[in-house]
Every structure is written in C-alpha cells, then in structure tokens.
Symmetry: D2
Subunit: 431 residues, 4 copies
C-alpha cells in the first residue's frame, strides 16, 4: 500500500524539487483518498449535474488511468483488477473503445465505494512495487502526466462536491468553516504596466507540462496594464446594485441569452438579496460574503460583462503569461487549507494573487499554439480535441493541488460554466 | 422499536383477518426495512430516472407520512425528529407547503442512510408506544391508509431498484436468482365468457379501500370474454417476429410516436436479439426469457398494439372487476418470493393469474367514479388530482405486498410507462 | 367548375334535408374557397404553430382527399393532377405511404396558392362531371365522409388563421368586427335535472355519422343536472380574480404543471390585466371582452379547474348526449356570421347554446364505444388511432359549418389544447 | 423612386471607384428588390429555420435601418411610414427597444409583401430626394455602413432562400440552372509559401470598413504555406469514402457530438449515396455534384476534420490576410451570375479563388482586435457583441455582392452552421 504520513489534503507541494518522483506519486495518490475521506458512501456516488462526476468515479477513473497507461503496457505480469471497469471508468478516450455515457455516471452504485477502494489498493500496490525499483527514465514523462492528470481530478472532486452540497437544502459542509474574523476592506485597485513587444510564450525545457502549453513560440504583445489583485465580492456587489445583470449592453449576445435563460442574478453559489444580505455556499457550508475576498464561481460571460462595466477588459492569455513569468508560484492553493478565496494582502506588492484563489478568465479562446501536434495514440485525446468554444483561464484556484500549476499552464472551460473556482483580474491597454 | 420475527420481505399477508391492526402496522413497517436490506448505502441514494425515487427517499417519505398525518396531529407530546425533513420528504402534497423538486431527489446524499434509519426508529418507537394502548377506533381508517400507502412505496422500491440496476453495465442482482428449471409451454389460450348486464362496481363496506375505488355504483356491462391467463413472453416474441414494433397500423398514434421516438423494439428490460437469444434484466439479475411466463414491463401502448395484433382487445376495468369479484385473492405476489413472473398452471382452471405476476392494463382511462369526492385536506390530494391522461391497471404484481390488493383496486400509470411490473390479459366482445 | 351563388362562408346548412348530395358537395367545396378569400397568399402559406396548418395546406389536403378516395378509385380515366402532391398533402394516413412531416407544412411555399387553386379547380371539375350523372348509391356514404372531412378542415382553417393573426403584433382582423352594442348581463345560472337510467347512446340509422359515434349501445347514466347556458367571460373573470390560476388545489396535477410551465393566467387570446381591462383577439381583431358571452379558448385543464372552483363538475359525454337528444340543432354556428361567441338569450328556455358558440369539454376520455371497429383500409385511420390521451367535446362552435354537427357528434382534443373554440357547461349530481 | 437600368442581381460592383455614393446607394437598393423578384409572395414570407429570416423581413429590416439611422435623425420633416414597423423589423438592436422575437419572424404574414414594397418605395423616395442634393460629407460613413449592411442581407436572402427551397420536397429552383458542361478535373493541389514575421493586420485608411476590421495593428506570423485553390467536392467525396464522418479521432469533441446528434454524413445540401451518385440542392435546383468545384455548405467542424484527415490544417485569419493583401479582389461573386461554386482555372496561378465561390473557414476564433472599441449608441451593437463562440471566415462567396469584400473583411459564423456558402482552403506550417 502506498502510504503517507500526512493525511491532510493540504500536503506540501508534490512538485518540490528535492522530492523524488516515486514519493510524489505516492503522496499524490494518497491525497485523492484523503479528499474523499470526509464523504459518506452516499456522497461519493451521486452526480450533481451533467458536467460533474461522482467522487467514486473520479477515484476509479484516475486508477484506471494508471492501470491502462502504465501498468498494463509497462509492468509484465500485472493482473487487471476487473476487466469490466474499462467500460465503466474510461472518461473520453474514444480510441480505447465504448464508454459508459457521461451523464449516467451517477447511476453506477456498483462497483461500491469499498470495491473502488480495493481497486485503488490493488493498483497502488502494483505501482509501488514497480516504482520501488526506480521508475525507468523513459517513463518519467508518462508518470508526470499521470500525476498531473489525477491532480486535475482532485480539483474536480472538490468542485463537484461543492456542486452536490449546494443542491442540498440542508447545505452540508464538506469541512466545517472555522469562524473567520471579518476582513479589512480590500486594497484599492492599482494597475501595473507592461511594455509589450515580441515575447516568448509557452513551455520550454524538460520539466513536465501539458502538450497544450507548447510548442514554445514567439508572439507580439501590445503595451498593457494588469490589475494588482483580483476583482472582489464587494466590487461584484456594486456591479449587481448598478443593474449589471439587467443591462443587455454590457453583455455578449450569447451571454445575455444565458443570463435570461438561466435567470442569473448573482454568482453561482450566492444566496439572498440586498435586503437580507448575501451568503455564499462554500466547502465550509453557508457563510457570509466577504467583500474583500475575490469573487468566485462566475462564468466568462459574467467576467466579460463586469470588465466592460468597469471600463476595462479581460487580459489575453499572453498578457497574463508575460506578467506571471518569473514570479513566485505561491498563493492560496489547496495547501493553504482555506478551501475558499482570501483577501489580497495590504502590503503594496504588485500582481498579488497570480496563483491561487480563483482561476482567472482571459479573453483568449482556447486554441492550438502554432505548430501544435497532439501525441499519437489515446493520450493524444488529452487536450487537443477540446480546442473550440472554450476560453483559457490562467493561474490556479484555492482547490488546486500545490505544485500543479505554472505560468504557462492553460486551463479551459466553456464560457457559461460557473462551477469552477473561477474569477477575474482586470486589464487595459497601456497606450 | 417495532420488531418482527420474520425478517423476510415475503411475510404473510398483513391483511389476514385475524391479525390486529397494531401487528399489521409493525409487520408492514418492518418489511420496508427488509426490502432495503440487500442494498448498499450507495444503492439507496441514487435516483434511476425522473419517474423513480431513491430507496432512502422512500424510507424517509413513508416515515414522514406517519409523522405528519398520525403522530403530529394525534399524539400529544410527540417531538418532530427534524423539522427540515418536511421539505425534503414531502412527495406531492401541495397544501403542506413547498417541497424538494422530484427530479432532484437523487441529489439528497444527506441526510444519510444512517440518519434516515434513526428517523424510522424514532417514528416507529412513537408509533409503537401509541399503538400499544390500542389504536383509537376513529383513527383506524387513517392507519389503514398509512399501511396501504407504505405498501405502495414498497412496490415502488422494488420497481425503482430494478430500474437502477438495469441501468448499470454490471447488471447486478438485487437477490441472486436460484436456477429455474425450464418451464413447460404455457397452457393454450382459452377464454371465459360473461353475460353482462347491470353490475355493481366499486368498493362497498367497512374494510379499507382507497377513495378512488368508490363510491360504489351500478354500471352497464356488455357481454364479453376474458382470457384465462396472461399474455406470455413466448407470445410476445411472436408479435415481435411478426414485425409488431414496425407496423404503424397496430398502434395508437401517440403510441407509434413513442415507439419511434424511443426506438422501442422489445419490452423494457429485454436484451438481445433473435439470433443470440433474449435475456431479461430482473431483480435476480440477467436471466433467459421464460416463454411460458407472463410478459412484464410493457406499456399501455404496447399492450394495446399487441391486443390489436392478436385480433382481440384489452378489457375495460369494469369487465375485469366483474370477472374478479368473488375470486380468491391469491397468486404470485411479493409473498411468493419469486420477484418475477411465473407460468400459469396447467390445471384447466379459468381466470388464472388474476392477482399477481403483473398489473394488467385495461382500456379504461383513469377517471372519477360517479359522485367521487376527494377527502378534505392534504390527503384529498392522494388520488383525485391524477385523474387525467393515465390508464387503469387491475390485479397485482409479483412485487405487490400480500394483502394489499382487492378486486376493486385501481392502479394507474401513464400509457408510456414501462417500469411497473405491468402486462396484459386479452378480452373480446361476446356477441 | 363547381360554383355556388352565395359566396358567403355562412351559407345555409349543407345538411338541409331537401338538398341533394350533389348540391351539398358543390356548396361545401365552394365554402372552403370562400373561407380563404379574405386571406393574402402570404397568410395562406404560414403555419402558426405545430398544431396548426397553413390555409393552403388545408385547401390542398381536402382536395387530395377527394382525389385519392373518390376520383382515383372510382372515376375511370381520371388524371392525377400532380403525383408529387400525395407526399405533400397526405395528413396522417400511414397506410398511404410517407408524408411531408407535419411540423414542416409551413415550409411548402411551393406549390403556390395559384397552383393549389388550379388543383382545386381540376378536382372540382372532375367531381362535378362525375356527380352530374348522379352519385352512385354505393358511394354516397364515402361522399358524405368527404363532405364532413372538409367541413372539419373549414373549422380548422378559421382556428388556424386566428392562431396566426394572434401571433402578429399588428393584430390583424380576418374580418373586421362590426361595432357590437354592449350586451346585457348573462341570465342567471340555472340547472335542468335529468333522471338517469339506461339510455341509448351513439348514432343509429342511415344518415351519415363518423365511425366513432357508433356502435349505438345502451349505457347507464345516473341522475344529474346540467346548466342551462355556457360559462361566461364574466364568470371566468371572477375565477381569475379569486386566484383561480394560482391555486394548485383546483387543478389536476398535469394541469397545474401546464399552468406553471406555460405561465397561463387567462384564456389563450385574452390580453391585458384587471387594471387596464381585458381585450380578446378574435377573428374580428382585438375587441373588448363581453362578460355575458361564453368564454372560449380554454383548455380541458382550465375547464376542469373552473368547475371545481364553482363547486360543480364537467358533464360526461353521455349526460350531454342524453340532454341534447331531440333538441333542435341550432345556435351560433358558422352560418350566424358572428365568428365569435354571443350571450345566451334571456328567454327562460332551458339548455341554451347546446350547438354553437363553443365546443363543450366533457369529463370523458376519448375512447372506443363497445364493439367499435375502425373501417378497413386507409380510412380506418380516420378516428380510431387517436383514442388515447384526449377528451371528448360535444356540441359545436361559432366556426363550425352549419349542418356539420349532431347530438351524437364526438369532437376530441388533448387536455392542454386551447386553440379550438372550446368552453364549458357545468354539471352536477342530482342526488 | 430609385431606379436602375440593369435589373439583374449581378450588377457590376457598387464599389467601383468612379461611381458616386449616391449612385451606389440607388443601385444597391435596387439589387435587393431584384433578388426578391423571382420569388412569390408565399416564398417571401416563410422562415426556413430559426437561423434564417423571410425575404420580406430582410427587405423591410434593411429599409427600417435606413429610416432609423439616416432619415429620422438627419432628414428634417421625414414622416415615418408606419411606427409599428420598428417593433416588427428591428433585428437585434437592444438599445432601440423591444423587438419581435427572431424565431417568429416567419409568422408576420402582415404587413404584406405589397405593404413592404410600399415601405421600400416610401423610404427610397425620401433617400433619393435627400441624396439628390449630395450626401453630406459627415454622413458618408454612415451611408457606407448602410450599403454594406444591406449587402450582407442580400447574401443572407440568397442563403435563406436556398435553405427554404432545400426543405421543399419539390426542390424548386430559385433560378433554373443552365446545363453545365462537365468540368475537367481540378488542378492538382499546390501550396504557396510565406515567410512570416511582423505584419500589418486590419483595415487602415479612409475607405469604409466594419469596425471589427480595426484597429489596424501589427502581429507576428510564423512561416506557413497556403493552398493555391479551395478544397473540391471530389476531394470531399474521398474524405467521405475514407470514413471521414465516422472516425471520431478526426473531430473536435464538440464537432463529433454534432455529427452524431445531427446524423451528418455529407455537406448540408448533398443528396444521395455512393451507389446512386450524389446531387446537390443549389439555387439552380437539384444538380449533379461537380467534383472539380469547391465544396460548399460545410461547417467549421467539418472543415477542421477534413484538414486533419488531409494532414494539413486551416489557416489563421492573419495568415489568410497576409496572403490576400494586395491581390485583386476578383472571383466568382454574385456578379458572375453563377450562384454556385466553379472550378479553379488551370492557369498555374497561385492563390486562386481568394475572393468568391465560398467563404473560407479559418482556425481563428472571432475576437476583438487589440484596442477595439465598438461605436457609441445602437450601431455599437453591430459587431462587437458577437465576439464569442464563433469563427472567422475570410474571402467572399458566390452570393456576395460584388464590391462588398476586402482582404481585411471578417465574416463570422458559429462552428456548427452550414447554411452559409462556406468551404475551406488548406494551410500548413512552413518549417
């Protein structure tokens, strides 16, 4: 069995340079189990909505990934745990055969949580035995991909649990919230300027990155300014009070159709009104809005409308990358234990909250970089086939595993999706 | 705690005349728990489809019914277990306030199965204490309604579990099927004739019946003949081989639209084709079709089309009642332990399988009897408001609790619904 | 060419006993043309909604009916006008081959109105030549069916035009409304009692009737009372003011779902509110509500809820037929020229408005009479295959061609449909 | 009345440098009338599908545009033709008040074609009188916008008529097709290389362009190669025969969902199969596929999948602009009279068919250029609010009015839309 001393889901970064890949793998696998620990079997089996998946499915799918891409092809004598699981737990790899349909993942009450746990233990034991002899150099990239893949599902598990609990009239808490002393107001909004010019974009070097972060290439960026912190809940309340959700001229036409069709009038998990005050459903349960903390769970459409209302715009993904390159990758990520957004510091530092709190919507459509080629085989389906109709988000969120992100990291969602921990940072032209 | 020696779900009839209402109540409550016993917490929380409900919801809703209609109004000092449950577990009683939306019942991972069990025990204890002093005469009708209500949910629990397991690619068995020795062919189809004339219809007397079975009244019935057994799987295969599902002239226009829209080509739980043979998903798992056993899980549309193909018709509910009146209420109901349909006997008896195996579609739209008035108050919503767009079924099924049905019993479903254990008996004009 | 002196759509009854079938045919055919006369080619091609059809389609379909069922099989040497029209203008006769899909009827801008007119003239000429020698006795029933069929489409044409014009923000009038002097209040509601007993139901004798009106048979009816006039717009306003559309306990559950899903708060064509007053879109354009006139364009669900609110119920179709048998078939039908409902007379006569103003919803589901057998062949699809999920309406409406209806006539629509000229007459048990 | 000698819809370019704006305006207005001329009133009123609009609506909407943006604000004493038309014929200008809902445009049988013609004449007369004194310099940009706007609707009229006629089982021709002598095979596919580097993108100078073509700015383009002609129907047939529509690995995930959901297996207007041969519905009616002519009516998803199958990719919009800049704006546009695509010439020239035949899908999401600001007021809604979820197409099509396009012109559609005359040109990296 893979084991790890620290059972907290907020273990230190698995990417720390002095930790071996073998140890990172074990710690990462353990974290998935730890994330599920506060959940009952009932909690783990239900699918909150079509976009989400059950916890149990995440636990099994990530295990299937290791079994399918590492153990079966590369570990002689490995015995598949249950051949029927390939049908149940393949997510979207068309080249690997038919799958259980995504909207029906929540119907799989069998295999049980206990069986999935046994599946994880079976695969972990095989991985551990294999890794104990040292992971072969030629497979280290694949293992890095497996780690990064499961880290993505760890974030999804927390997103999906929040969606599930927010749909429950009892508003259960995933982890009860310690009382938070009220925050001081957020620091005033300031902007940092950048010159533009020909810049390097994308991942370069030997460290792991997803294929969609490359090829590294040059791009021309025009002078711009970027806000030194994220947009706050307090600012979002001003937007709401000013009729933001009722003013069509602020919205893209597809966004306005969504606002009206879905009757949006506040971020996804906000409850209440101006008279009674606003609360927010979080992983800590229903809590009062913190006006100084970054707004979360807004869609691209809302972020774009807010920026227009504020007389600014969203940054491009290249602008964001230019600003983030070389900065410390630190912030309110999973390791902080907050599980929700926190106010920016009053320390006068520029470009706070680059990595953490919420993923930041950019105005860039998710598209291949020049010269992009997906990998051959099933893993080639990982990123490339999603490159239409989605927008890039940069940074990280308060439920992103530490060590998972990079300045070149490209997250992506559809413009109407609100269940990610997503917010925004304002930008404007410098000229 | 209400307790009962026989933990089987196939306890003897709760309607046996020599059993006190107090004992019937206890035995009936226990049966709900017993039905849930083979299910994991995961199995109990998921909603297979919009028409179905989770097992846990059934367990809690029936408990809420006792709490709301018996304990709170009639037992001084009763302490409500959890005031929030009224919102979670009210089914459709509009007059009792807002409810959790039906299609989202499967999202309620909390309260947990353990909490619902505690809820049942809390309510059962109060019921037992109260009943121990003898149920007041004036409340015996209400208690009978509560028993009948929960018995209906017991049948629904088994219908809904089958729907859930049938959606699972692993095809789990609720209760593994003992090997069944192959049946001899069904007896040849014979018909019994009836004279018609002015007949008594509906429930009369002091014993419990639902309000929709009354008022008793006279009706004029024309001479008719009724088949002596149910339509079998073997006969249904003939219908299929003869192109039944591909011949529009056999179908009602709404039925044909459904056949095409849903791509129906066999009963709901049949799998396979003529080449490989047909199997059927049952509560015992995936088993071979038994050609001699009654066909189950067909809609009204299918039953009606089959009857037209066979040159016969469905009976009216009055014809069925005329034929069934005075016959023994016995057959393959829950108490048999079969949990699926069984062939008719070769004993030459007329009108076999009247009560049991499958509910029998009639050609009668579900409508109020002359002079029907729903009860005043929330319980008036029990039956009356569903009297449009549904058809009456008569008899009982292999998952109907023993003692639940009567010759005057009116079950009802929409004509497209297939998840009930429903089949058909043929009829024709006598003239 | 078939010609008729009186070009008005309100020609005297085509069923007058002293008129030959040949003349009735000619007059009836002319009426279809006359109904279309006030409409532009644009008006005639558009389909207002899926339930409706374009005027041009009605004109062509009824012509195709004569061509297909009379001319081709029975008139040697008849030349089909255009073989492609069978695909375009078959309505629902599955046995006659594939059809243009119903929801796309409005896309058929070709053949043009002019071509359809030529089609009508071609068929009328052939019919006239054929009829001039006397319609063979053996085909008189078929011709009666053809006449009745086209009369039904004449009513549909006016229903569908109203739906079309009601969707137009300019609210055009099919025929401008003469100023109507304000009506006196409706006579007070009185009820006429009936004894019940065994009664004769259904059509008997040689005169034409649809197959669904037979076989004639006996039925048992319980004592009842029937209102002497239809429910008025003024009474409907009381229902609305009393919160009728907001009180779930008044509604069938499917009705309540429809009220909420469709945001119903008044009859289909009413516009306005209590403050500004209510107007109604009619074939005469937008006019003020007449409180004394019968309410029209309400669904079965609304009629049923109103009756419950009024402490009464809808009649069964048998009760209605018992009351109507032997009464004069006269009232505000198409021949009156009103094209909308008119107040009942203050003459103290019982059972006014039996035939005319609006079709009257009954509580009877549309079902086959005992012994009903559809005709063999395509015409067997005329009525039988619709006998599920619909309710029977009796009487006639202000746009029903004179001579079309009978006491045994069974009209039918789905319980949610509101575009027919449909209203209600109250009933109650006599006991 | 504005009049023009040449009644053909294929009048010479309205952008010819030596033609005054006044004359261009008159000729352009006349062309709308000419495009409608072959259509009956019935043809002009029907809406083929939600994306399309009726011809009559286009004629009235473009007229409303002139009335609203030019005549009312700038021509003293102008009398609005009918104040109610603003509601009927506003397309999407939210700031100008409520509108008739887009999906219901086809219900407007009134105002009639004749009334819309009178509306056009009323507005044309006012425009002519006003223009006769010379269009004021300050309004010339607005008039250019009005001309370009109506030219866009002229293309839409022909797109929408084709959609309408393709839905008609009679397959009517908008303009009967002269017999086309069979084409020689298309020239072999060759590619022209480009160096890349920092390039100028977007419209510069005083001539009219849409706001979305600016601001002009610099961009960095990497070396690439562009096909010298468009992809042909013959090549598309190879893709189909090779299983292109059945191979998920060729498709973006949203594209594959669309292929399966819509059962796509050929371009939108193709009919037939490999055995019987393929025909195509065109404005000339149903004609045989010309293998040498460019494929049309394919979606972005299909174009993208084809390029992947061919081992190439779609160009970016910047690559296309770099290649097109400075080339003659000539080709098979509306003025050619072909109304469908034509084979490329065998003259060895590079980069044929840049402007004409079909709009060319690029891989670029439709997004604002750096520094883009929509105009203030209602006209600011023209382009900006559509900048999400769509892709840019470049060039022109065989139904684009001559003089309408430019190398910087950015057309845009959703990736699933197939009713535009859209095809593709292949590209690849040069390195």
């Amino acid at each position: 069995m893979l084991r790890h001393a620290d059972r907290s889901i907020t273990t230190a970064s698995t990417a720390a340079p002095d930790v071996t890949q073998e140890k990172r793998l074990a710690a990462m696998r353990q974290r998935s189990t730890d994330i599920a620990a506060p959940l009952s079997p009932e909690d783990q089996v239900v699918q909150a909505m079509e976009d989400a998946s059950p916890t149990k499915w995440h636990l099994a799918h990530t295990t299937w990934f290791w079994e399918t891409f590492v153990l079966v092809p590369h570990v002689p004598g490995y015995r598949v745990f249950d051949a029927r699981f390939a049908y149940c737990f393949n997510s979207y790899y068309v080249s690997l055969g038919p799958r259980h349909p995504r909207p029906s993942r929540g119907l799989l009450t069998r295999p049980s949580v206990a069986e999935v746990t046994a599946y994880r233990e079976h695969v972990d034991a095989a991985l551990q035995t294999w890794a104990a002899e040292g992971i072969p150099r030629g497979l280290r990239g694949l293992v890095d991909l497996g780690i990064a893949h499961e880290e993505q599902h760890q974030e999804l598990m927390l997103m999906d649990v929040l969606a599930l609990f927010a749909a429950n009239p009892l508003a259960p808490a995933y982890r009860p919230e310690p009382v938070r002393t009220s925050s001081p107001a957020a620091p005033a909004l300031t902007m940092t300027g950048f010159d533009g010019g020909i810049v390097d974009i994308g991942h370069r070097g030997d460290a792991f990155a997803f294929d969609n972060e490359g090829p590294a290439h040059r791009a021309l960026v025009h002078p711009f300014r970027l806000a030194d912190r994220l947009v706050t809940c307090g600012e979002w309340q001003e937007f709401m009070r000013d009729g933001g959700y009722r003013t069509p001229s602020l919205w893209l036409t597809d966004g306005w159709a969504t606002v009206q069709g879905q009757s949006w009038d506040a971020p996804l998990y906000w409850r209440g009104d101006d008279r009674t005050g606003w609360t927010e459903m979080t992983l800590g349960g229903l809590v009062a809005i913190d006006p100084a903390a970054p707004v979360a769970h807004v869609s691209f459409y809302e972020a774009d409308a807010f920026a227009r209302w504020a007389g600014k715009r969203l940054p491009t993904e290249f602008e964001w990358e230019v600003a983030a390159r070389g900065r410390p990758i630190a912030g309110n990520t999973l390791g902080s234990g907050a599980l929700r957004t926190r106010p920016a510091a009053h320390d006068g530092q520029p470009l706070q909250q680059l990595f953490g709190d919420v993923w930041q919507w950019t105005q860039s459509a998710y598209a291949p970089y020049p010269g992009y080629r997906p990998a051959v085989g099933a893993l080639g389906e990982y990123n490339g086939k999603f490159m239409a109709n989605q927008f890039v988000l940069r940074g990280a969120s308060c439920v992103t595993p530490d060590g998972h992100t990079r300045p070149t990291y490209r997250n992506f969602f559809y413009p109407h999706q609100r269940w990610p921990f997503a917010g925004l940072r304002l930008a404007e032209d410098a000229a």
